[in-house]
Every structure is written in C-alpha cells, then in structure tokens.
C-alpha cells in the first residue's frame, strides 16, 4: 500500500513534513526525556527516513514522549514531531509490537478501556485496573498516595459516566473500524 515507511508516515495528518528534517537536533535538545532514549527524536526521524520500520515501532522510546510539544514548537523546519510520535505509537499499537513492556502499555489499555465503556475517567478505578492488568502488587505502591487523596476528598468512589453511553460507544466503535481501513 505504501512505497516505504517514510511515505506511510507522510500520509498521516501531522507527518507530512518529515522529509524537511535537516538533522539539527533541536528536537532532541528540547525533549525532556531524550536523555533516557536509545533512539532520540532526531535519530527516530533518521530511522524513519531510512525506512527502519521494525526498529522504530519496536522501540520503547516512542512511549517516552510526554506530549509537551517542545520539539514541535521549536523545530526550525516546521516538523510536528509530537504528532509523529503519536503516529508511531498508533502503528505500534495496531501492529502488536506493544507487548514489550506491560507497565507502559497496560496503562494505555486500562485508560482506553474505561473511556470506551463509560466516557469519563475515574482515576481510582484507572489505577486499580492498571495494577490488576500488570502487577497487583502495584496496588501496595499506590496505596499510601491513594489514602492521602481519599482523606483530602480527592478520590471519587462512584464511577462517573456519560448519560448517553450508547452514543459514545457507537462513535468510538465507528472510529475504531474506520481507522482500521
């Protein structure tokens, strides 16, 4: 369907300008988590342009983006690298290269599951679901903080939800199907 990985990235909203990269490294220098990456933003762009799809999508570095948009704001070539990170994560999620680290992906699936079902987020439930999906012992780690939040009246015990759950579930399903085309 795509000639190569670069063309694929360019076909998605936000990926258009990737070939304008001149490897200046402003993105990497601006990124608050690049210090912990094997493949920094600048290197990821280089790998994409070398069509190293597997290496890029299997790298856990793409899950280290905090969506702070510093790279996007500063890129002198107008590349929206935060959006490219989202594209990469979407592809990695779809292509099942996501099982590398449950601590990371378990959170995304727990969050997404709650939203698709009820439409609103409940942080208490999110943490419980995340812990059960990854390692129930995590509950012990979260417990002291959870207790403080409860004492301060900052935890909700009744799961919030939208009234029109049918509508919400339907639009999410339609978007899922369409995205899979």
């Amino acid at each position: 369907m795509f000639e190569d990985f670069t063309s694929e990235i360019m076909s998605y909203p936000g990926g258009e300008k990737i070939t304008a990269c001149m490897q200046c490294g402003t993105c990497t220098g601006s990124c608050p988590t690049s210090h912990a990456m094997q493949y920094t933003p600048r290197k990821l762009i280089s790998l994409i342009r070398a069509n190293q799809k597997d290496t890029v999508l299997k790298s856990l570095d793409i899950w280290k983006c905090a969506s702070c948009y510093s790279c996007t704001t500063r890129c002198p070539r107008g590349i929206k690298f935060t959006d490219i990170m989202y594209i990469l994560k979407n592809l990695a999620w779809k292509e099942q290269t996501k099982k590398e680290n449950k601590d990371i992906t378990g959170f995304y699936s727990a969050f997404q599951g709650l939203i698709e079902k009820r439409g609103r987020m409940n942080e208490t439930e999110l943490i419980m679901k995340y812990s059960f999906q990854t390692n129930p012992a995590k509950l012990l780690e979260f417990a002291p903080l959870g207790m403080k939040m409860i004492i301060k009246g900052r935890a909700a015990f009744i799961a919030p939800k939208v009234r029109n759950q049918d509508q919400l579930q339907k639009i999410m399903k339609l978007a899922q199907e369409r995205g899979g085309e």
Binding site: Y86, F107, F111, Q112, I115, M121, L145, A156
Partner: protein
C-alpha cells in the same frame, strides 16, 4: 452578566475538586455565569491520541457538538483538555480526512458540528475578558508579596496556546495584580511528565524534581499552576520525589484560582485549599 459554557474535564470532578471549587467560587464573585456542557465526556488527554488518531478526534469533537453555538465561549480549566479541544478544531480545518471522518461518524449518531463555540482556557478568558484592571479592583486582601513562581506547564502554551510557548507572561501578570511577588523562573513551561508519572515514574520524577528544585532555589514559597495534571504530579508525588532525590523543604502547589479567591476575600475552605497534599497553611500565614 457574562455567560460562558464550561467543560470541567474528568479531573475537576475528582482529584482536582479543589480547582473546580475555586473556579466556581471566583467566577461567582465576578458575576460570571458558567453553564456546564451537558453530558460531556473525557477529552482522551494524551492517551487516546497515542492509540487511535480518529478516536482522539471523536472524543473532544463530541464535546464541541454538545456545546451550544450561542451560549458563549467554551471555557476549559485543564491544560490537556484545552489542547485536545483546540487541536480537533485545528485538525478539522486542516485535514480533509479527519473532517470527513468525524462528520461521517457523527451523522450516523445524531451529532452535529455546525457552529462550534470558541475554545478558551480559563486563564485566557480571565486575562482577556475580565482584565487585570478589574481583577485589581476586586482584590480586598492583597497577597502581601508572598513569593511565588508561576508554572504554566506545556499544553496551555503549546502548540496552540494563547501565551508565549517559551516564556509565558499571563500567569505572572495575574499573580502580580493580586499582590504576589513573582520570582524569575526558567521552567515556567517545562513539562511535569504528565501520565509518565504512572507508567515510567523514573522519567517523570526527574522532571518534577527539576521544577521543584529550581522553585526552592529561587526562594519560592508556593508554585502556582493552571492544570490539574501538573498540580497532581507536583503536589501528590512531592513526598516520594523529595525522598528519592534527598530534598528538604515542602512546596505547596496552588491553583491560580485559589489565590485569586483568597485575594478577593474568600475563605480557604470555599476554595478547597485544605485539599492540597502539601499544606499551604504556613505559606499563607502572612495573608491571614
């Protein structure tokens, strides 16, 4: 009476209840009417866009469809919700496939996106519609040079925000108008780590520590925030982070609306100030 529509977002009904309380208190004092968008849903934050781009448009777009065309701008107190809502509007204009995808899905479910309201952060609305002159007029109890750093975070100012993305000014100006002493701070729009605090705490802890450490070094008594995620990361995790990096000195993390309310004569409890994990009592002593 000026009226606006209000999209609180999920946090303001739970972990950021104090923000919600202070928003309503302050806007009530300013005689501004807020009408909550009926049946709003989660904006998807940074999670849904990581998994499915079209779903990431659909979630904020449903809120825009449920908001009314003629009931005033849509006011958003959370940086992440603000960015998600603005971004879908931006994407619908810029990308045909997104526009068509959203419209097609909505047409099958009775939702319509004609006449979307303008999306604005609460701080943006206060600065532009109310203005500093009016804010100063409302101050009955000046903040008496309490030393603060203002921390705007990322998504209020990037990539579609209303203030300077590198050195935002609005929050500084508002705090000065209340009588606070605003200290120079280089990390105003640095990132708090957002949801990495749960998935990869080793990364987010370092980010939060860097922000808190500079705030302590410049002599801040409080950090003022505009976002429930920043507040949670800097406040609720502060104990763990200070332990990890061997830091001493607790810093209260307070919403700008809470300080506005105090300066306008409201009580701490009306503004949810007692809900901070790090207590603000000592820092607020001199205000009385």
């Amino acid at each position: 009476m000026i009226a606006y529509q209000y999209y609180p977002g999920c946090s303001l009904h739970a972990s950021a209840r104090d923000y919600d309380e202070s928003v309503k208190g302050v806007l009530g004092c300013l005689e501004i009417k807020l009408e909550e968008v009926p049946d709003w849903n989660c904006c998807g934050a940074t999670i849904t866009p990581s998994l499915n781009q079209l779903q990431a448009q659909i979630l904020p777009a449903r809120n825009l469809a449920l908001a009314a065309e003629n009931k005033g701008d849509l006011i958003v107190p959370c940086n992440a919700c603000y960015m998600s809502l603005k971004k879908v509007q931006h994407n619908m204009v810029k990308y045909k496939e997104i526009r068509e995808g959203v419209i097609d899905i909505f047409s099958q479910t009775g939702l319509s996106l004609t006449g979307m309201p303008k999306v604005r952060h609460l701080l943006e609305m206060i600065m532009e519609d109310i203005g500093l002159a009016k804010v100063k007029e409302m101050v009955t109890k000046t903040l008496k040079d309490i030393k603060i750093v203002s921390y705007s975070g990322c998504q209020l100012v990037r990539p579609l925000g209303f203030d300077d993305p590198e050195d935002p000014q609005a929050l500084d100006q508002l705090m000065e108008a209340l009588g606070a002493k605003v200290l120079p701070f280089s990390q105003k729009s640095h990132c708090c780590g957002s949801s990495l605090i749960t998935t990869q705490p080793e990364l987010a802890f370092k980010m939060v520590d860097s922000i808190l450490e500079e705030a302590r070094k410049v002599g801040a008594e409080m950090v003022v925030v505009t976002c429930p995620m920043c507040q949670l990361n800097l406040d609720a995790y502060q104990g763990q982070i200070n332990n990890k990096f061997n830091r001493t000195g607790e810093l209260p993390i307070i919403y700008f609306t809470q300080l506005m309310g105090l300066a306008m004569g409201m009580s701490k409890s009306q503004l949810g100030i007692q809900r901070g994990i790090v207590s603000s009592n000592k820092a607020l002593e001199k205000i009385g």
